[in-house]
Symmetry: C2
Subunit: 293 residues, 2 copies
């Protein structure tokens, strides 16, 4: 199966899993549940679920366990987008070409949708058909990556950085927390769910996850600078307009592109030791960079 076909199949099974692990819109409170489905089922790229499944090819995890992990991490990602779009944060009205949650519903509903999606992620993870020890490890991984020293903390630093010049180390730290932590967690969760890898292999995959998270962000900054609103499905040039530091503002477009190539090279070296089972992760790293061309 080509990477493209495999990614599409993984997206589809993730959407089936999200439908299964989200509370039904037929159950009370119906409006809240309907809104949770609205924000989760809007044609997202499902990048984190794809990473969960790609890492699962290395660990030999069952697809049901991976589906739980994939749905859970996507719920965390979507909750962060819903809250991030709210007027007191980025105040965005468009997400993947559709009205954001607080526009389609209202602010209070958007707040509760985000809150309940975060909880639902942990409910979903607790249902994974793995040992209790692995459940605990998965929950720790996802919670650590999404809390105040991970994603939420990165958002706090991002908010505080508007108009403040960050150096490369500070910018990297912010991105490692804001988007990198969850990308890294996706790979770690796929690896943990198989219950078979030794600590050294887990560490190696973790390092790959860190590099991939940075790579993803550099590419995102490049696309924010070069892409159109239509192609991105969100408002282009928004970070630059908001005077937020990006890799492009720090390194220039050409510098950011070179940095992305360097990260790709290192990531592919790290993952090479896993052999053929790491092929999907290899391909995904390459695919990320190719979005910039």
């Amino acid at each position: 199966m080509s990477l493209k076909e495999w990614m599409q199949a993984t997206r589809e099974r993730t959407e089936t899993a999200l439908n299964r692990y989200l509370p039904s819109p037929d159950h009370n409170p119906k409006r809240l549940h309907e809104a949770m489905h609205y924000v989760c089922m809007n044609g997202g790229k499902r990048f984190r679920p794809i990473l969960v499944h790609a890492a699962g090819e290395i660990s030999g995890a069952t697809t049901t366990a991976l589906d739980c992990c994939a749905a859970a991490i996507e719920m965390i990602h979507v909750y962060s987008l819903v809250h991030d779009d709210m007027p007191c944060m980025d105040d965005d009205t468009l997400r993947r070409g559709q009205p954001t949650c607080h526009v389609q519903y209202d602010e209070a509903t958007a707040l509760l949708v985000g809150d309940a999606l975060q909880t639902q992620a942990f409910i979903t993870l607790a249902q994974a058909p793995v040992s209790a020890t692995t459940t605990k490890a998965l929950i720790r991984t996802l919670a650590s990556a999404s809390g105040s020293t991970g994603m939420a903390g990165g958002q706090a630093i991002d908010l505080a950085s508007v108009g403040v010049p960050l150096n490369e180390a500070e910018l990297e730290q912010m991105h490692i927390m804001k988007t990198g932590a969850l990308i890294r967690a996706a790979i770690r969760m796929g690896a943990l769910a198989g219950e078979s890898l030794d600590d050294r292999s887990l560490d190696q995959l973790d390092h790959f996850g860190k590099l991939l998270g940075l790579l993803f962000q550099v590419v995102d900054d490049i696309l924010d600078c070069t892409g159109s609103t239509e192609a991105l499905g969100k408002t282009a040039g928004k970070d630059a307009a908001a005077d937020k530091p990006t890799y492009v503002s720090l390194m220039g477009l050409s510098g950011a592109r070179h940095f992305a190539e360097d990260l790709l090279c290192e990531a592919r070296q790290v993952i090479a030791i896993t052999g053929p089972s790491g092929q999907r992760l290899q391909e995904i790293a390459l695919e990320i960079v190719q979005r910039t061309h």
Copy 2:
């Protein structure tokens, strides 16, 4: 030790536990961590932690395990207050006599504080010194009680109910979810943390928890109607002013008081079968009702 002394001691050990399990304000992002401490360390009643420890007397759980459960459930409770106070929800400026989070900091920080506190609750629970199986049961209990079919769902129904007449069954359902679910979870968590109770005892405690949750809400409605802003530490008469249905608006003050007495009577009967180890829970039920006199 008198109930009053025991409750005070439990409050103090809960605050020590919160300090221990919250990220340090010395660590980045400092402002976010400082705000998380601000909202958690403001002289709360620690009612849910007290219930965790009281149920722990029946299950024989270790105090460290109970401290983790107590800190975790209090973080969930506080996160819900922080989000509930925001302008798009109840728009309250005063909480326990102090400026609410979005007033003291800003809205975006309040949003992230709530988000990160929820995550921190699961991080804390995953650190409890209990078996992985019990950790999983604790996480399921707390997550189910706080998500879209528990606390967050109850808030959604509460929001939708402004100006809408609810009947007794609907009002009860809303409260069972909004405040009852977490009170019930507190008792269940204290019971689970001991890893010793059989299913029948767990069910019995669970039924007690359900009654206590309702009792707490009826008393809260009575106090909202009869108390002063100063005595409550929050704006009195707010629910009535907002045209929200309460037990008092539904049953009248005298009817609500009778209902509270009935609930107390049933709760004390249910808990009596646990013998002397259930004494604290007996006393707490009585104490709740005495707040109305």
